[in-house]
Structure formats: C-alpha cells, structure tokens
C-alpha cells in the first residue's frame, strides 16, 4: 500500500501516525500496527529522497516536440 504513495502523501501519512501515537488514543494492537507502517513509510521517504535524480530538458523544436538536455552552463 505504501509503495503507491508519493513523497508528499507518505510524509503526511507518517506525520499523521506520529500524531495518533502521541495522542495515545489507540489500542496497543493498532499502535504496533501503525508504528510498523510508520517505520516503512520513513524508509520509503528516505529512499525517495536519496534515489530520485531529476533531469533538465528544453524543448528545442516546438512543432515536433523535440526535447533535449539543457545545460545551464551554456547560457
């Protein structure tokens, strides 16, 4: 389930779990369950932060929608 969440959703779910745990308003069973979910979410978020590497592209031909790597250093 967690794999389907993007970074934002995963982080906000994690923060929601923390809030819930802090409220103490959960059963022991549920607390353990959401704690485990939280640990998994934190791991996913971390790896998303580490692994993703964005690209910088520029559209060089608007009619044919041709894109090309864009180097800032060339400006």
């Amino acid at each position: 389930m967690n794999n389907k969440l993007n970074f934002e959703e995963a982080l906000s779910r994690l923060e929601e779990i923390v809030k819930k745990l802090e409220s103490g308003n959960v059963s022991l069973d549920e607390s353990i369950e959401i704690y485990q979910e939280g640990v998994a979410l934190a791991k996913n978020c971390s790896s998303m932060l580490e692994e993703a590497e964005g690209k910088v592209l520029a559209i060089v031909n608007k009619e044919q929608d041709i894109v090309e790597e864009f180097l800032v250093s060339q400006i």
């Binding site: 982080l11 923390v18 745990l21 802090e22 932060l49 910088v56 864009f70």
Partner: protein, 401 residues
C-alpha cells in the same frame, strides 16, 4: 461665365484633398485634444471627434492603427494624436486620419495596463478563490521564459541546488517584442496539452514597462487563467507588478524567488523526515511506557490491594480457626483425661483391697459378701478376707447391735 471653367463637386473635393495631402504640416502632425463620441466599428476602424474648448475635428483611425493601440480610447480622454489631415471626398469633409494615439499625461502603456487590470478584475481573473495551490513537491517544473539570460539560469540553478529530485522542462520563448505574449501563452498551453509539468514558472528578468509588456497582455492573462496547472509569475524585480502577476496563482518577486517558492529544499525535507522518524520512535516508546506505568499503577491500586487484604484476612481467619479448634480439642481431651483420673481415683477408693490395707476385712459366706448379722447363724462357716490372706471361722454367737 462663358469662358470660366466650371468644376464638378468631385473635382473640387479632389483638388482640396491634393492641397491638404501635399501640405508639409498637415501631412504629418501631432495634435492634442479630447476624445468624444468614440465609436469602434465592427470593421475594426475607430471613428471619433477630437475637440477642445472652442473647436471640433472629425477623426478616423483605421483598423491597422487602432488594433496596435495598447489601450482603449475613451470619451473624455485627453490624447495626443499623430496623423494627417485629408478629405473624405464622398462627403466633402476633411478629417484627421490618426495613425497613433497616446494618452496625455500618463503613458499609453500605463493607461493600457490600468484598463486591462480593471477589465480582468471584472472578469474575476484575480479572485483568490480561483487560485490553485502549488504542489507540495513537484516532480516536474515547467519554465516559460527566455532560453538565454539570467532568469532561466537563476531558476534552474536554484531548483537544482535545492532539490535534485525535480525534473525541469524549459519552454524557451521571446519575452519581449512583437509576438512575445503569444509565445508565452503557447508555452503555458504546451504544458497543459502535454500535462507534463506539476507547476509552471513564467517570467523574465527586469526591464522597462515596454520590455515587460508581454506579461501585461490579455493573451497572456487568458492563458494563465485557463491553465489547469498552477502558475507562478516572476516578472522583473520586486517592484514590478504585471497583469500576469495578478492573474497567476502565485506571484514571486523575482525569478529566483519563484524557484524557491516552487521547490522545497531537500535538506529541509530530510530534516522534516528525520524529525518524524524520531518522533515516531519517541511516541511509540512513550506510548508503551504509559501502558506499563498504567499496569503498574493498577496493580498497586486499591482494587488489587483489597483483594490482597482479603486474602490475608482469610488466611488469618483460617489460622484463628485452626488455633481455636486445636485449643478446643485440647480442652476436650484434657477434661476427659481429668475425668478419667478422677474416676480412677474414685475407683481406687472403692477398691476393697485398699480398705483391707487400712486394717479392715470383709466376711463372706459361701462366696457371698455378708453385710448384716442377720444373714448369719451360729455355727455357720464364714470366710474373713484380710489384705494378705483369708481365714475360715465358725460363728460362736450372734450379738445384735
């Protein structure tokens, strides 16, 4: 009148027209006045009267010139018109053919800016309620700006510096001059058609109002307002406000500021994540600790103590019962023992042998104990029992006592 040349109306009108057209002053002049009776025909030509306190002049501005005006002429507006005087031969009227017009006092562009602002505000283009929120963390940022220059360089550098996760797609456009606004609009449409950006930055570096003009045009405003993708407008410097800034979902003071608004800093995200992770463990530990404390508290509590006490009490009762039972039993045994001893003593007293010991003896006749003289007669044989033996004797006489 015989030899006099007779002209037609048309000839005279044509003649006057020629004079006017060839006049150095009238063929290219600037004239100031107030616009009245302004009518924009569906053909695109504008007809109006230019007047001052004492005088009036018919004016026409053809579509080619009227269409280029950045502002909309209005009745009562003081303007300076560039143009020429000529004759409309059909009606025999002379009129001013306007080729350009600038509002007097304030600049034409500023006037146009003000007018478009009023118009778009009425259309609801600036409503806060319709503004789209920026994505928390865009996967891809679309940029519509010049492919060369400081603006694009600043935007890309800052995005890359803050967060290397983000993709960037640049749609290079002219940001000033003829057709710039149209290109900017096309750039916005491009990202909407391909749906390949989560947020769009449009903008350019600083410049004069003329240079920033593409961002004050209706075509740009329309593209922004129709974009399904949130748009951040970053035009010029902090003090420059363009129509695009008002229509966009968010105004950034500068292109650099736009990059910072659009992309969260990776370090800040990582810190937030760490914080959450720490709090997750912390709150779980605290949660468990709380439960433990509660268990401890309950186990030390009154309810448990009462049970314990009851058990102790019962144990004591059992002990007491046991003790008193034993005591009673002892009592019974002892009293029986005493009775027995008593009886044994009584028995001892009653034992004839013990009487004999004290010197008494008893008499029997034919095995039967004699307790009275009357049982006996003279010459009866009797046995007398002593403590250490017996004798047989014969009765000599009976003496009644």
């Amino acid at each position: 009148m015989g030899s006099t040349k007779i002209f037609t109306v048309k000839e005279i009108n044509h003649y006057i027209k020629n004079i006017l057209d060839n006049d150095v002053i009238l063929s290219n002049l600037y004239i100031k006045g107030e616009i009245s009776n302004y009518k924009l025909h569906s053909s695109g030509h504008a007809y109006f009267t230019l007047k001052d306190h004492d005088s009036k002049m018919k004016c026409v501005m053809f579509k080619g010139s009227a269409g280029k005006l950045k502002f909309m002429p209005e009745d009562g507006m003081a303007v300076v018109i560039q143009g020429y005087l000529s004759v409309y031969e059909r009606d025999g009227n002379y009129q001013l053919y306007a080729t350009d017009m600038i509002p007097e006092g304030i600049g034409a562009l500023y006037k146009a800016y003000e007018q478009l602002k009023v118009k778009l505000a009425a259309l609801g283009y600036f409503e806060e309620a319709t503004k789209k929120p920026l994505p928390f963390l865009p996967k891809t940022v679309g940029i519509v700006t010049s492919g060369t220059g400081a603006a694009v360089r600043d935007i890309i550098s800052i995005i890359r510096r803050r967060n290397t996760m983000v993709n960037i797609i640049l749609y290079p456009v002219q940001v000033q001059g003829e057709g710039a606004a149209k290109e900017i609009a096309q750039g916005i449409e491009y990202f909407n058609i391909h749906n390949n950006a989560d947020v769009i930055i449009i903008g350019r570096g600083g410049g004069s109002i003329e240079e920033l003009w593409a961002f004050n045009e209706e075509v740009t405003a329309n593209a922004i307002v129709h974009s399904k993708i949130p748009i951040v407008s970053a035009v010029g410097h902090e003090t420059d406000f363009t129509i695009a800034d008002f229509v966009a979902d968010l105004r950034a003071a500068t292109p650099s500021a736009a990059a910072e608004l659009v992309v969260l800093d990776k370090q800040a995200l990582a810190a937030r994540l760490n914080q959450s992770q720490y709090m997750l463990n912390n709150s779980m530990n605290r949660f468990l600790q709380e439960k433990r404390t509660k268990i401890e508290y309950i186990s030390k509590g009154n309810a448990f103590r009462q049970i314990e006490q009851r058990i102790h009490n019962l144990m004591q009762t059992v002990d007491m019962c046991n003790k008193s039972m034993n005591y009673s039993m002892m009592q019974i045994i002892n009293s029986n023992k005493n009775k027995l001893i008593n009886n044994i003593e009584k028995l001892d007293i009653l034992n004839p042998a013990s009487v004999l010991l004290r010197g008494y003896s008893y008499t029997s006749k034919k095995g039967k104990i004699v307790t009275s003289v009357k049982q006996l007669a003279v010459a009866d044989k009797i046995e007398v029992q002593f403590k250490d033996g017996n004798i047989v004797a014969e009765i000599n006489s009976l003496i009644n006592i």
